[in-house]
Amino acid sequence: MLSTVNPPAKPQSYKTNVEIDWCPGCGDFGILNALVLALQELKIPNENVVLTGGIGCSSKIPHYVNVNTLHTLHGRSLAQAQAVKIANPRLEVISASGDGDGLGIGSAHFVAAGRRNVDMTYIVFDNGVYGLTKGQASPTLPYGEMPKSIETENLKFPVNPLFLGLASGFTFVARSYSYNIKHLKETLVKAMKHRGLALVDVMQPCVTYNNINTKEFYDPRLYDIEKEGWNPVANNESEYKQKIPQAVVKSLEWGDRIPMGVFMDYQTETYDQKLQKLVPAYGKKNYVMEPIESSGKPLNDVTELMDSFC
């Protein structure tokens, strides 16, 4: 397939003209559309948004969104996204990747990200299979299941992204659904507005390889926990500690009823605030725009460091 050179099309458009190579009917389309709608609603200038992807079908999404994009390595979307935000806290940073990318090969970064609480959003395209390599079992595929693409039933227990997100310290944890664009868009807007690390786990059917977790599977099961009275907001540490176990119990629900919505929304110190404890000037100037030289001469002077060794 050919791409058009220099895609930015219409002014303020958040979509590129790059031809999309997902399968017809793929759940990824819903996430792309919801993300573009969310960006339109928030009206963040394109140049101030960075979207990173890992490797896999879903991780190609950076090419379809007209912002700065880093198409990284398999499993490294979240690691790179955090560094972008640390390097320039003025940017709106979104990381996207599949459940295999984020919870299999990249799971160390997932857990460590929770420990930092960088102010950014991480979207998991959760479909239970490795689509781009023809449908092998991925970390969220339930135990004992055997979608048509795999040779034997799945012998591993699934990772629960919400439970792991809560346990790791993500301060905003939500689930949405790629065929409910309105809910997904609203969830993404909330996630981006949240000050801290937000996880949005999106139920995203793979129409080609996963014939179990389909639209027909999800439609009758998904229900909105907030509509049933759950208030995810924790205003302080004690509320947070009190709500965490309840949120965990809700995250474990799976079967005839599958909960979606925001499970946790807790605002606490973000990583940029924490970094200011070590480097008080951090974030006050934009490191990217701050010159480090003047006519080629360095602006830093290590004389004082040299003297400390004399």
Binding site: L2, N68, I86, H109, V279, I292
Partner: protein, 576 residues
């Protein structure tokens, strides 16, 4: 009069050997002497036998000596292990009595008791200060003014004035109670201001001077000393050091921070670099200016984490799948490490590629005196960085020199698309067009020629000794130091230090080596530089002098091997 003095502090790790030897070294450096130290320790926190050597001389020294003049053993095991290395005119400073005529009998107990009483402390509380007794004993035998030792002690304990006073009272007591039977009359020198540093400090200062704003690392010996040093100064110079969950995150974060527009680096050692390899390939493909500081240690696998080796040259050269441009610079001393660090960031940004600075454990853990760096020479070149509004921007635009203008997030009209898949000029990946592939490969690989043309000759190779000498040693990294020390004595040899390993400076190397008898000296099993030399130039070395027991070259073993009338094809040095 003696020309150089060698002091060893040996004992269980955690007993203050490092502190004792460093204090001594600093006092001597303040006197204007050149000081060279070598640390040999176990990969453990406490208990295992370790030792530090300090060599002092009025002339420049770059290696340790096998000879010990003053031995400070902190336990009986150290007496057993090292007394045999002590020269016959040497002296052992040890708490208990020894049936050795070289024993310097300092009344430890009485001295400590006097000071304990004076400060109203129990004698047991002063046990940790026994090292100060030994230190003062050593400086008294050298004839050093006790006030100079006391000054350094006061600085060491600046935040604990009582401890400083107690230690200094011990110094006073030793100077009044101890009458040495042996003394060491070191050739005098004149004061010159010098730093007492290792390469982790030199690299750290280089990074600050270069304007680095982001460093990521995962703890590993011996590289993390550098990151820890940077953590101590980041508040003052306003940058971020990020400790990551693993080395994979470390390199990926450095790459992302570089693509966000910051001068970024990561520091590691062999096992960590192994984990970074995929992202190194990514940095090559995405034309990311990231700098990796690679402190080699004895491998393979976990190997000997605290011991020295130059065993990763071929790995650094070939790490990463696919073919992509990279630059590898190998400094040979702390001074070079400082300037090379800055040069590495310049090359990375000018040519938009990964640069590896290849160091080693001997450089990371050997403190020695270095003249203050000349900051007036330093230049920063950020290449084609775009930091103002632009239009029609293409991250991978084809340009004659293969280097595209580099925008970063936040620049109006300068949206970037970075991709590790093969991509078009716009960074999008939905082409596997054969012609585009060829053009993109040419674009990236062409940078190697550009770097080779642009980099100055001193960054590529350095030649020492008479150009007319028939025999030329080729070497690299910290092996340079011991070789240069010997070169001063054995005039028939010259040294060609190869500093840029990739792209390999064939022209400069040929200029110095053509028609010569070539001897390779390096600290690995196979002679990796000798192999590289043959691969790149066709030149064969006549002898490979190697050492791979985890310890750096000693001065004497280097003299001995190079004094041989005929060198074997392979000479293995083993001094420990």
């Amino acid at each position: 009069m003696i020309h150089d003095l060698n002091l060893m502090v040996a004992g269980p790790q955690g007993s203050g050997i490092n502190f004792t030897s460093d204090t001594f070294a600093k006092v001597m450096a303040r006197e204007g002497y050149h000081v060279f130290t070598n640390a040999e320790l176990f990969s453990t926190i406490k208990g295992e036998h370790s030792y530090f050597r300090v060599r002092v001389c009025k002339d420049m020294i770059r290696s340790y000596s096998e000879r010990i003049d003053i031995l400070i053993p902190l336990d009986a095991k150290s007496v057993m292990l090292h007394a045999k290395e002590l020269s016959k005119d040497g002296s052992i400073i040890f708490e208990d009595s020894l049936e050795d005529p070289r024993h310097a009998d300092i009344p430890y107990k009485e001295i400590l008791q006097t000071v304990a009483t004076k400060f109203g402390k129990a004698l047991s509380e002063l046990n940790v200060m026994k090292n100060t007794v030994a230190l003062a004993g050593a400086t008294k035998m050298i004839g050093l003014d006790k006030e100079k030792l006391k000054k350094v002690i006061s600085e060491n304990f600046a935040s604990k004035p009582t401890i400083a006073s107690m230690n200094n009272a011990i110094v006073d007591e030793v100077y009044s109670e101890f009458s040495p039977t042996r003394t060491f009359d070191l050739e005098p020198t004149t004061y010159k201001k010098r730093m007492f540093i290792n390469s982790t400090h030199a690299v750290g200062m280089g990074k600050v001077e270069a304007g680095m704003k982001f460093q990521s690392y995962y703890p590993i010996t011996p590289a993390s000393d550098e990151s820890n040093y940077l953590e101590r100064v980041m508040e003052r110079y306003d940058f971020v050091v990020e400790q990551t969950e693993d080395e994979i995150a470390a390199i990926n974060m450095a790459v992302a921070a570089a693509n966000t527009g910051l001068r970024s680096a990561t520091s590691t050692s062999g096992p960590g670099f192994s984990l970074m390899v995929e992202a190194l390939s990514y940095a090559g493909m995405t034309e990311t200016p990231v700098v990796i500081f690679y402190y080699q240690r004895a491998g393979p696998a976990t190997g000997m984490p605290t011991r020295h080796e130059q065993g990763d040259l071929k790995f650094a050269l070939s790490a990463g799948h696919g073919e992509f441009p990279r630059v590898i610079i190998a400094p040979g001393d702390h001074k070079e490490a400082f300037y090379d660090t800055i040069e590495a960031f310049n090359i990375a940004e000018e040519y938009q590629l990964p640069v590896i600075v290849l160091l080693d454990k001997a450089m990371a853990m050997s403190n020695y005196t270095v003249d203050p760096f000349d900051l007036s020479k330093i230049r920063i070149n950020r290449g084609k960085l775009v930091l103002s509004e632009t239009n029609g921007y293409l991250r991978y635009k084809f340009e004659e020199d293969g280097v595209s203008p580099r925008s970063v997030p936040g620049i109006k009209g300068g949206l970037i698309t970075i991709a590790g898949d093969e991509h078009d000029e716009d960074g999008h990946i939905f082409t596997e067009d054969a012609d585009n592939r060829v053009k993109m490969m040419d674009k990236r690989m062409h940078k190697m020629e550009s770097v080779l043309k642009a980099v100055n000759a001193d960054t590529k190779v350095k030649f020492y000794g008479k150009p007319t000498n028939k025999k030329v040693i080729v070497s690299w990294g910290s092996s340079k130091g011991p070789i240069l020390d010997v070169l001063d004595k054995l005039g028939e040899y010259s040294l060609l230090q190869i500093r840029m390993m990739e792209p390999f400076p064939v022209e400069e190397v040929m200029k110095f080596l053509k028609g010569k008898t070539i001897i390779a000296i390096e600290q690995n099993y196979t002679g990796q530089l000798a192999d590289l030399l043959k691969e790149k130039t066709g030149l064969e070395v006549s002898s490979r002098i190697v050492k791979f027991n985890g310890r750096p070259f000693a001065f004497e073993e280097m003299v001995e091997v190079l004094s041989k009338s005929k060198l074997e094809k392979r000479e293995v040095l083993t001094y420990a």
